[in-house]
């Protein structure tokens, strides 16, 4: 006979639907389907030059037309098609660079934080050294030794960004280490790795997720700088960053050439952040029941 009553659960599907991040999901869906279906849905070939049609404004302005809805750039290439193909590259870079840098950074951070002592010192000095080298200089060195292209961009981003994750994860681990359930897991006989995987990882996962969504904007701009320096995406491939770089000379005469890819970046980052917020809240067992 127990005197304790079982906890009550509160499900409200209407509330859940209201809370669901429809708009961010739509945005991300559009980005990723562009990435998948790219070549199929572009109205024109993204690399097709047509100097006669150069600098056409978007359709809602004078001189624009629906066949080039978002206008063309200085070489007559359709902006819309380029944005769609750029989404593809952005998605590829993000989907590889962010998880990899996150995984490596988190692993190093967990090891440093949990084991402490000399290991911690070693890893953190490595982080410090790497962080004191300006990232673009690092990128130059790396890219000079590798062939420019998507793979290089991914590698450069991973090498630069893992340190950021490592530092933050280490901090989380240090504070988690003080919690009683970690000590009690040791008392129960769990091995260090089992504790790291089963206790630390789930508890820092939320932080990692939020960090990852914050990184998206950073990754895109970093890729843009690399492409600008000629170390990243090469024509005929196109990325939003590259479009920004290309459009620089024409800002005053053709606002759409820089503004529209820029808008694409902003909307994607916003969608990613909002989605990350929702995901973090949903995955947190404590918040789930509200």
């Amino acid at each position: 006979m127990t005197s304790q009553s079982a906890p009550a659960r509160n499900k409200s599907s209407i509330r859940w639907m209201l809370r669901f991040p429809w708009i961010p999901m739509i945005i991300l869906f559009m980005v990723f389907s562009s990435a998948l279906l790219g070549p199929i849905i572009t109205p024109h070939k993204h690399g097709a030059l047509n100097l006669g049609l150069a600098m056409k404004p978007p359709f809602w302005q004078e001189n624009g037309s629906m066949s080039y809805p978002l206008g063309t750039d200085n070489m007559g290439r359709d902006i819309l098609s380029r944005i769609i193909m750029g989404a593809r590259i952005t998605a590829i870079v993000a989907l590889w660079a962010i998880p990899f840098s996150g995984a490596i950074g988190a692993l190093m951070g967990m090891i440093a934080g949990y084991f402490g002592g000399k290991i911690d010192m070693l890893i953190m000095r490595l982080v410090d050294i790497q962080m004191s080298v300006p990232s673009l200089a690092l990128a130059l060195i790396l890219a000079a030794s590798l062939k420019p292209g998507v793979a290089t961009v991914i590698i450069v981003i991973v090498v630069t960004y893992w340190t950021w994750y490592a530092r933050i994860v280490r901090g989380e681990v240090l504070s988690l280490k003080e919690r009683d359930f970690i000590a009690l897991a040791r008392v129960a006989g769990c091995s260090a790795w089992s504790i790291l995987l089963k206790h630390f990882l789930p508890n820092i996962f939320n932080t990692l997720l939020v960090l990852a969504t914050l990184q998206l904007g950073s990754v895109i701009t970093y890729e843009a700088s690399l492409s600008f320096l000629g170390l990243g995406i090469q024509p005929p491939d196109v990325s939003w960053g590259l479009m920004l770089a290309d459009a620089r000379p024409y800002i005053t005469v053709a606002w759409w050439v820089i503004a529209l890819p820029g808008l694409a970046i902003v909307i994607t980052c916003l969608g990613s952040n909002l989605f990350g917020d929702w995901l973090r809240d949903t995955l947190d067992p404590k918040r789930r029941q509200l």
Binding site: S3, Q4, N10, L290
Partner: protein
């Protein structure tokens, strides 16, 4: 309640403080009335969710907004209903000046980046009691001496981390009495202190009361601490006072089953028992409190009517009372 000869220092009448949360309404304080005389200590005994801290935050009008609101009641201090006073006057005249508070955790009560001299000087500066630096400094040293901080003049530039827990609590007490309040509210002032330090703190509170005639409300869950210093005790449960009386009656002849259960369930020095009295269940969920008497799910002598209607208040002795159907 019997009529007192003097006008009470503080009179709380039918105070109701509710928290309006997304999930529902929490009736944190649900009709609480009591009085405190000057030079007297009232103990409010209760557990988490009893409403004891909320009551005192209500007196100071420091309840968390916008969720929290005092929906009903009067709080009359020296003849003035301070619930009617505007916020500006409350901050400058009442809080820190007429009513002060000492809270539980000495670690978080003090700002770690300001020196002790700075912080204890704060009340003097804010309430305009002293104008010049020299005057403030003297006042600070004086009040620190009154709370028995050794060599206060030399310690003005020290920071909180340089003091032990007990000393920090004294500094907090100094800040509380700096402007000579009429009423002092101490919310679990000794819970975080070691036993030998706790007794020093309780003695200090007694001395302060002797010296300044301040009325003291002591909030605690520790029955021993309450017995030490209080003349009258209010036992709170789920937002209401379930029993009230003078300290001797409460401890020797408690009337409410909750009070009795508490007193029986606590281990006492020198009385070795095989088993402690078991109180079933757990403190009530304030979002869905039980209908009728809030204690009925845990009461070992409950009757049907307890689950239907809240019991009436039955007077006991001269000025005590309890709310229980068993007493009718």
């Amino acid at each position: 309640m019997a009529v007192r000869e003097k006008i009470p220092l503080l009179s709380v009448e039918n105070l109701k403080t509710y928290l309006f949360l997304r999930r529902g309404v929490v009736k944190a304080v649900d009709g609480v009335s009591f009085q405190v005389q000057e030079r007297e200590t009232l103990g409010i005994v209760g557990e988490s969710g009893s409403g004891k801290s909320m009551t005192c935050l209500s007196i100071l009008r420091l309840i968390p907004e916008p969720a929290g609101r005092i929906v009903e009641g009067k709080i009359i201090l020296d003849g003035t209903d301070i619930l009617q006073v505007d916020e500006q006057e409350m901050a400058s005249q009442v809080r820190g000046r007429k009513i002060s508070m000492i809270s539980q955790d000495p670690l978080t009560s003090l700002n770690p980046v300001f020196s002790i001299g700075d912080q204890v000087g704060g009340p003097f500066r804010y309430h305009g009691l002293k104008k010049d630096r020299k005057g403030i400094r003297e006042a600070v040293v004086d009040v620190l001496r009154r709370v028995r901080i050794p060599s206060p003049a030399q310690r003005l530039k020290d920071y909180p981390y340089q003091f032990s827990g007990g000393m920090r609590q004294r500094v907090v007490a100094a800040m509380a009495i700096a402007c000579g309040p009429r009423l002092l509210i101490a919310d679990e002032p000794t819970s975080a202190l070691d036993v030998t330090i706790q007794i020093q703190m309780l003695q200090l509170l007694e001395e302060i009361q002797q010296e300044t005639n301040v009325g003291l409300i002591l909030i605690t869950h520790d029955l021993g601490v309450a017995a030490y210093i209080c003349q009258r005790i209010a036992v709170m449960y789920a937002g209401r006072i379930v029993e009230f009386g003078d300290v001797r009656t409460i401890y020797k002849k408690p009337s409410h089953p909750y009070t009795q259960a508490l007193l029986n369930s606590v281990p006492r020095l020198g009385e070795k028992k095989k088993r402690l009295f078991n109180i079933e269940g757990q403190p009530p969920d304030l979002l869905n409190p039980p209908i009728g008497c809030a204690f009925w799910p845990r009461c070992d002598r409950r009757r049907d009517i307890c689950q239907q209607e809240y019991p009436p208040t039955i007077p006991i002795d001269r000025e005590g009372y309890a709310s229980c159907w068993l007493l009718t």
